[in-house]
């Protein structure tokens, strides 16, 4: 049977039309931010430069794409319509009359839908893993930089140990199907996911020690929510069955956190060593504040600028790491629509068909570019103050 095709111009129009919820959301958010940019602090200042607007725009574009993925994509990312195998862009699927806007891949799946759904995987794992890496890096970097001495020596040695591993080797050792049979990933998850709970408990404890009414509420909330998420993620024992993570994904998650937290540790340690010589830290010490209060409530807030910039860059870097994992077929399921896996599948067949390769590569590149632009303009803005 002969496939019908629509023209290149119609493909572009079709893609633009498919993204309609994203355009509406983008216009609303960007318009509102632009109108009230004077009152929005650092975020508002981003809208002063072209680079900043581009960065925010690209990041929000992918964020909304991930949120509205099911509305945007015309097909199921895993569905195979055998007649559409290797179909060129613009081929019309005969049964539903919908168009394979970017063509079909070698398993006859819609490349466009897979790209859109791929954003969901990337935008969940990358920021979450970066968040955990930040928590681990901050919780360990603060005492290392503040106390110095033996704690610093030991922690720095461990961090350098992990940093001396080439990332790819680390992934080949940590993200294999075999390792899922051993308790190693769960033990590592158990350690890493503990850090946010410790961090917030100490945060509230040091601040509200003298005000039990506040303290008990905040500590209770931290322990309940933290424990709930912890049980769901590490033991897969969430009583309400809301929080659930595949063993595969847990493994990837742990490996990515493990690979990127030493970097955060080094940055935090450096910042703390610089900030602890300031007068307000000396003042707090003279007041008799506890070391952890000083670290969390005096030093950390003053280190937030570089940390936010680093966080943005790191989400981009984590996205690249996820792509690397997908490219080597490690961890993620072979039919998963994430961008790295899609690039791997398509790059093997580059000699015969190029259309399945381009959408995921451009998607990945543009998302990381958006984050880097955002980080760059955040850095410029915070330098101005």
């Amino acid at each position: 049977m002969q496939l019908e095709y629509i023209g290149a111009f119609n493909v572009v129009l079709g893609v633009l039309a498919r993204f309609w919820p994203v355009w509406i959301a983008l216009v609303l958010v960007m318009g509102a931010s632009f109108a009230y940019k004077k009152r929005l602090g650092l975020y508002g200042q981003l809208f002063d430069s072209g680079v900043g607007i581009a960065g925010v725009g690209i990041c929000l574009f992918w964020l909304f794409t991930a949120i509205f993925a099911s509305t945007i994509s015309p097909f199921d990312p895993l569905a195979q319509v055998s007649i559409m195998k290797d179909a060129l862009p613009g081929a019309v699927e005969p049964q539903s009359g919908l168009v394979y806007l970017f063509g079909g891949d070698k398993l006859a799946r819609d490349v466009f839908s897979r790209m859109v759904y791929g954003s969901q995987i990337v935008l969940i794992i990358a920021p979450a893993a970066t968040g955990f890496a930040l928590m681990v890096g901050i919780t360990l970097g603060l005492p290392a930089g503040y106390y110095g001495g033996r704690i610093d020596t030991v922690l720095s040695f461990l961090a350098n140990l992990v940093l001396a591993f080439p990332v790819i080797l680390l992934f080949y050792l940590l993200v294999t199907p075999g390792i899922m049979e051993t308790p190693i990933p769960y033990a590592m998850a158990g350690v890493f996911f503990m850090f946010p709970i410790i961090f917030f408990s100490v945060l509230f404890w040091t601040r509200y020690k003298k005000r039990p009414d506040r303290l008990y509420i905040l500590l209770g909330l931290t322990l309940i929510i933290g424990g709930w998420v912890y049980a769901g993620l590490v033991f897969d024992a969430d009583p309400f069955r809301i929080i659930h993570i595949d063993p595969n994904q847990l493994n990837i998650f742990v490996a990515v956190v493990f690979a990127s937290s030493p970097g955060v540790f080094r940055i935090v340690r450096g910042l703390v060593m610089d900030i602890k010589t300031r007068d307000y830290v000396a003042a707090a010490q003279t007041r008799g504040e506890s070391p952890w209060y000083i670290m969390l409530w005096e030093v950390l807030p003053n280190a937030r600028g570089p940390l936010i910039v680093d966080g943005c860059l790191r989400i981009g870097y984590t996205t690249i790491l996820l792509g690397t994992l997908g490219y080597f077929g490690l961890g993620l399921a072979p039919e998963s629509p994430d961008w790295g896996t899609a690039i791997k599948d398509a790059s093997r067949l580059l000699r015969s068909f190029i259309h399945p390769a381009l959408p995921p590569t451009i998607a990945l590149m543009s998302f990381v570019l958006g984050l880097n632009l955002l980080a760059d303009s955040l850095r410029e803005q915070s330098m101005k103050d």
Partner: protein
Amino acid sequence: MFAFVFRRLGTMLLTMLCLTMVVFFLINLEPNLKKLAISQTEMHTSAEQLESWLVNHGYRQNFFSRYGQWLGIVPKQPVTDPATGKPTRRFSFCNDPVEPTFSGVLQGDFGCSTKFKTTVASKLFPALGATGILMFWVLVVMVPISLLIGILAGMREGSRTDRTLSVASIASTATPEYVSGVIFTVIFASWLGLLNGSAASASRGITFYNFTLPVMTLAIYGIGYIARMTRASMVEVMTQQYIRTARLKGLSFGSVVVKHALRNALIAPFTVIMLQFPWLLTGVVIVEVMFRYQGFGYTLVEAAGNNDIDLLLGCSLVSVFIVLITQLISDVGYAFLNPRIRVQ
């Protein structure tokens, strides 16, 4: 200075010891050993046969004694052939000792590759040589281009050249190798047909036709990063007092940049270029797999994919060594180049 280098070398050795032990532990996990036994024996072998294969090839000895044997501080024991009761080689394809001898990494024996059926050394070192050639061309392309971009951008901060080049370098840092590799292959191999999308023939002879794409792909990710660091360093130098003095005494802008600014602005990029090697290592793996170039990265992936224990250990030893030695060179070189820093 010498004390500093010695202390660093000591830390380096300790780090290598810890890391190889971790790698040794992770490779020798039970599921991995089982996978190795299955791939090395015939199909459909029973559990007992797998187990006896592992015992016969010495994989069931104590963890620390095996690590010591690999390292060369514990004598390597030959295995006894159950049929004859005589000591035999573990693997027939490489020269394992038949008598207990110290034969480990310290003695220069890297072990046997089960995948390639040869000694690790005869597989690993030619691969390293091939990667060395690739790295050489990458550095030849990457370093001058990125320094030039960084200097041009940092010369006049905020100018249009600066903005354009900065955005371009940000874009290049946002392009990992597997993305740029695909895009370059599409443009130069599929559309224009100018270059070869595979570097498999490069191991027989390097030509512009088969080697340009891997080099380009590997260089582009680093160019952006080094260029941005050079720019930052150049911007800082250009605000210094001595630059203003040189301008005020009537020197032309060009000669101020070349004679006064460059020398000081190039100290920081030196460190960055050195620290770029670990990143290049990951890039090498991706590029060699993508373009089918038989180098170190390709060997690493083959070793990891087939659970080739000794080969993978050799690969990790080499990569960890490269990472640590470049860190050391960057520290020592920085102190050497920058007279304001004195190492205690």
